[in-house]
């Protein structure tokens, strides 16, 4: 074996250089132990990205192992492949995942968000699934922050610019604004695809001698160290200078790559395939080889380049977008190349699978890297970092309670609050209907997508609740999962699977590690109780700027399964004369509510969550939908019951009203109107069905109230404290976000 040698002009490799690459002294020593020598500069770069927090999950793996990953429907759950997969029946498998692109989006919002969409799409079609829907969860700073409007415009533009051009509808999402994200926004991108059952592709190499094909865009210098230096470190005043680590997206090439890969898959000549995502060629090649217990030889001179004179270091670490690595059946590479040629894409053999487990790269006649593949993919140090609760739990959002305004005043202010108001300004910029499956698009509790040729349908939602997580990272995570499940159940769908994006601060701080541990514990407990396993996910640490961490923000995307699309339920009231039922599992509270964020906190903590009762509510909601007993169902979320009832009146196509007597529920105060803690839904149904409906809920021990009726005129009466015109409220609700974006206060 030839030993890799230093190339002329390369920096010297020592501890200082290792530190500059983000490796700790212990990690550098471990590299030297594994190689039994000092790594070359190229090898150091390769280790630094593969062992980065972003790629190795070295601080989180211990906790992620505790999550439930299996159910009778799970086809692929947990690590090992690019995304999770759930059997949705009629011969279809849903493949889905969510991923963060927080730091790139803060540094360069348009490209950061765009490539976040592109990256998650590749994780889906690399499984052999055609991407059919995208969602995103966005957290921006306050409107008072000078960068916020720029970031909103860039991120929304980037998501639209990429998603619209690639032909995958963006069907749902959430957007929140809070000063806690001033220095570190969150951009979490989700994608879901459909594959035929039994036809998923693998990312595990096999077959010594099989050729390795590079397909897609040429390699440039963009995105080098995106995973290590950008995603796995805190922000500081220098972060702007990291802009060159942000990749640049080309959705047109991605569209071609989707079509070409799916067509190439039909040849049966693909053995394994993986996206060149974070850590690019290095991660895709070493991970595929390691999974198969094999090695790989790469010839870097054959890699298509965008410009000459890239060093092997740059070629291996580039995060240029829209590239895939394929292990092909030996002798059938020409078949695959013909498909890519048809779509005008590069498809070049750049290496082959070897026995012996070495990951080797050759450049201009010499070996530049020679490392055991498993050392890169699996042997990153695992950390059990100290975790400790802070001495006094301080809510990030806490402030002292001021006097309550009059209910009608508070309702108008609430509907004008960008966190509560319509997000139409955002989702109107996304193509939500391409591919022709969108039965319910953005703006409802969950999106609903039909499956062509099947009675079944999929419900999708993405949720987070940082205010609750800031108060209690365990209960906040439980509440988030429960809310996501309730959102899909409101449409009549069974919650069947979760993917999560866990956004936290610096894990080297015990308080953050404790938040994370508590969040994962909450996620696991809730997922187990609801029977919705966590099939894929992503961890994003180091979300802090100059020592200020974001509030713990686990983002939960939930897949729901509608067994018959005919029983799908919408969130708007549909018929005047219908009765309005309020069903809930517990009493509401102002803790962690939007109301508390606006008018101050009385210091309440979160109430415990009874997961059995939550499950009972979910089951009841799906049961009454499947029996066709309800006209509409809407979840109570930000802004509480008053906002939920108003939203149920806000059908753009019809203008109905509602009359609800709050005294039937208990008390007509701010807690009842704007409280959020309890799991609550607003249902409308024909009066003749209400007795049976009430039994469906009360038999399960739930609190259910026949509290009002749907009106034919646009009037919202929440007796005895609110009596407002729905059209006026609707204008506030629709106009709030555009007004804030245009104003300069």
């Amino acid at each position: 074996m030839t030993m890799p040698v230093a190339l002329p002009g390369e920096p010297r490799v020592d501890l200082e250089q290792a530190r500059a690459h983000g490796l700790s002294p212990e990690e550098f020593a471990r590299v030297e132990r594994i190689l039994a020598r000092t790594p070359t500069f190229t090898e150091l770069g390769v280790f630094s990205v593969m062992w980065s927090e972003h790629c190795s999950y070295k601080s989180s793996r211990k906790y992620l192992r505790t999550l439930p990953q299996k159910s009778e429907l799970v086809v692929q759950g947990g690590p090992g492949e690019n995304a999770g997969a759930i059997d949705v029946g009629d011969g279809w498998v849903a493949v889905f995942k969510i991923e963060s692109h927080n730091h790139p989006s803060y540094v360069e919002p348009y490209q950061g968000a765009a490539t976040g969409v592109g990256g998650i799409l590749r994780d889906i079609f690399t499984m052999g699934a055609r991407p059919i829907a995208s969602m995103n969860s966005l957290k921006f700073g306050s409107f008072a922050h000078p960068r916020t409007r720029y970031l909103i415009g860039g991120v929304v533009g980037g998501i639209g610019g990429y998603g619209n051009c690639v032909g995958v509808p963006t069907v749902a999402g959430e957007v929140m604004f809070d000063a806690a994200y001033n220095g570190n926004i969150l951009v979490n991108a989700f994608s879901l695809g459909l594959a035929r059952a039994g036809e998923l592709w693998s990312a595990k190499a096999s077959g010594v001698g099989n050729p390795v094909l590079y397909v897609g865009s040429a390699t440039g210098r963009d995105g080098i160290h995106g995973a290590s230096l950008l995603a796995s470190a805190e922000f500081d005043a220098e972060s702007e200078s990291k802009r060159p680590t942000v990749q640049v997206g080309d959705p047109f090439t991605e569209k071609l790559l989707i079509e070409a890969c799916l067509e190439a898959g039909r040849t049966g000549a693909i053995v394994a395939i993986q996206d060149m995502g974070a850590a690019g060629l290095t991660s895709s090649s070493s991970e595929m080889a390691a999974r198969g217990g094999l090695g790989i030889d790469l010839d870097l001179d054959r890699v298509p380049l965008r410009e000459q004179n890239l060093t092997p270091y740059e070629i291996l670490l580039s995060e240029s977008q829209e590239r895939m690595l394929i292990v092909a059946q030996r002798g059938r590479e020409a078949e695959l190349q013909a498909v890519f040629e048809k779509w005008d894409l590069h498809a070049v053999v750049i290496g082959e699978i070897t026995a012996g487990g070495r990951w080797r790269a050759r450049w201009r006649g010499q070996i530049v890297a020679d490392i055991p593949a498993v050392a890169l993919a699996d042997d990153a140090p695992l950390y059990d970092r100290p975790a400790a609760a802070p001495p006094a739990r301080r809510a990030v959002f806490a402030q002292t309670r001021r006097a309550d305004p009059a209910p009608a005043v508070a309702l108008r202010a609430m509907l004008s609050n960008p966190n509560v108001a319509s997000k139409r300004w955002v989702f109107r910029q996304y193509d939500s209907i391409v591919q022709g499956n969108t039965v319910a698009g953005p703006g409802g509790d969950a999106a609903v997508l039909r499956i062509k040729g099947s009675r079944r349908a999929l419900a999708l939602t993405v949720d987070s609740n940082p205010r609750a997580c800031a108060l209690d990272p365990y209960l906040g995570a439980v509440a988030t999962v429960v809310e996501a499940a309730r959102n899909v159940a409101c449409t009549g769908a069974h919650p069947v699977g979760i993917t999560n994006c866990l956004n936290y601060g610096n894990p080297e701080r015990p308080e953050i590690m404790w938040q994370f541990a508590e969040g994962v514990r909450g996620l696991g407990d809730a997922a187990r109780a609801l029977g919705a396993p966590v099939v894929s996910g992503n961890v994003s640490f180091y979300n802090e700027t100059e020592g200020r961490a974001i509030p713990p923000t686990p983002t939960i995307a939930m897949l729901g399964l509608v067994t018959d699309i005919a029983h799908r339920v919408g969130s708007h009231f549909r018929r005047a004369g219908d009765e309005i039922l309020i069903v809930r599992t517990a009493a509401p509270s102002l803790a962690a509510s939007e109301y508390a964020a606006m008018y101050g906190d009385a210091g309440e903590g979160l109430a415990p969550i009874d997961l059995e009762r939550e499950n009972a509510l979910l089951e009841a909601l799906v049961a009454v939908a499947e029996r066709g007993l309800i006209s509409s169902c809407h979840d109570v979320a930000e802004g509480g019951l008053a906002v939920a009832i108003a939203e149920a009146c806000f059908d753009p196509e019809a203008r109905l009203g509602a009359e609800v007597d709050l005294r039937i529920l208990g008390r007509a105060d701010a807690v009842e109107l704007f409280g959020e803690g309890a799991s609550t839904v607003v249902i409308s149904a024909a009066p003749s069905d209400c007795a049976e409906l009430m039994r469906s809920f009360t038999d399960r021990g739930l609190n259910a109230y026949r509290a009002g009726r749907v009106l034919s005129e646009p009037r919202l009466a929440l007796a005895p404290v609110v009596d407002e015109n729905v059209t006026e409220l609707y204008e506030l609700y629709e106009g709030a976000l555009p007004r804030r974006l245009q104003s300069h206060d």
Binding site: C165, G167, F252, Q429, S432, I433, V434, Q435, G436, K452
Partner: protein
């Protein structure tokens, strides 16, 4: 009727158009590849929405040079029926098969929403199953749908009845608010002077099933298919 749907690299609504025609409307329809020149005996050619060639230069500017466009141009010159939706409309304008051009929306942003259009001329092969003044609810989804043409040309088109669809509100009234992209004279769809080529920004192929929000798009396809 036999339909041909052209797939350019970057076409996005090609499968949706094929599905609407073949599966929903029961028409005979086939996909045509941009590198080919044969039209497969199609009696109506549909250029679908999308971002052909990424639309990095000008929308539709590259697609018009695709090999299949030579055949489509000849087909149109011979009187064959051609309909272009969204990016297809942009390509037809770039290819000078239709007058005018499509530029960035007044909002400078992409807009996806359900809008209304009024049928201005029902005596065309594309609108014959409707009546003048009928109002259609159709989705739009585009970033560059602001229709422009020189004033003299616009006047000429109006006189000849080439303005086929105009944006309006649900009741048929015209207003700034009802013109989503700021098109001149609220123009949503135009025909050539021989009335065999039709381009429109709304997506009839996304309005053929009640479950997906409406069926008004069928009326356009039914008009074309009813060509006796």
């Amino acid at each position: 009727m036999k339909w041909g749907v052209v797939r350019f690299p970057g076409s996005l609504d090609d499968n949706d158009a094929l599905y609407a025609l073949a599966e929903v409307m029961g028409q005979e329809a086939a996909m045509l590849w941009h590198k080919d020149t044969a039209l497969g005996g199609a009696e109506c050619i549909l250029l679908p929405g999308g971002f052909s060639y990424g639309d990095y230069l000008r929308t539709g500017a590259i697609a018009r040079f695709s090999p299949i466009m030579r055949s489509v141009e000849k087909f149109a010159a011979d009187g064959g029926l051609v309909i272009g939706t969204c990016n297809g409309f942009q390509i037809l304008c770039e290819a000078h098969l239709l007058p005018g051009a499509l530029t960035r929306n007044r909002t400078l942003s992409f807009i996806c929403e359900r809008i209304h259009v009024r049928v201005e001329n029902a005596r065309t092969p594309f609108t014959r199953a409707m009546r003048q003044g009928d109002i259609l609810a159709l989705p739009i989804k585009h970033g560059e749908g602001l229709y422009v043409a020189p004033e003299a040309e616009l006047r000429d088109m109006e006189e000849h009845g080439q303005v086929i669809l105009r944006y309006c509100d649900a009741a048929g009234g015209e207003s700034e608010a009802a013109n989503p992209n700021g098109s001149m004279r609220a123009i949503a769809g135009v025909a050539n002077d021989r009335f065999n080529v039709f381009g429109l920004m709304p997506h009839p192929e996304h309005a053929v099933e009640a479950m997906l929000g409406g069926t008004d798009g069928r009326k356009i396809f039914e008009s074309i298919a009813a060509r006796a």
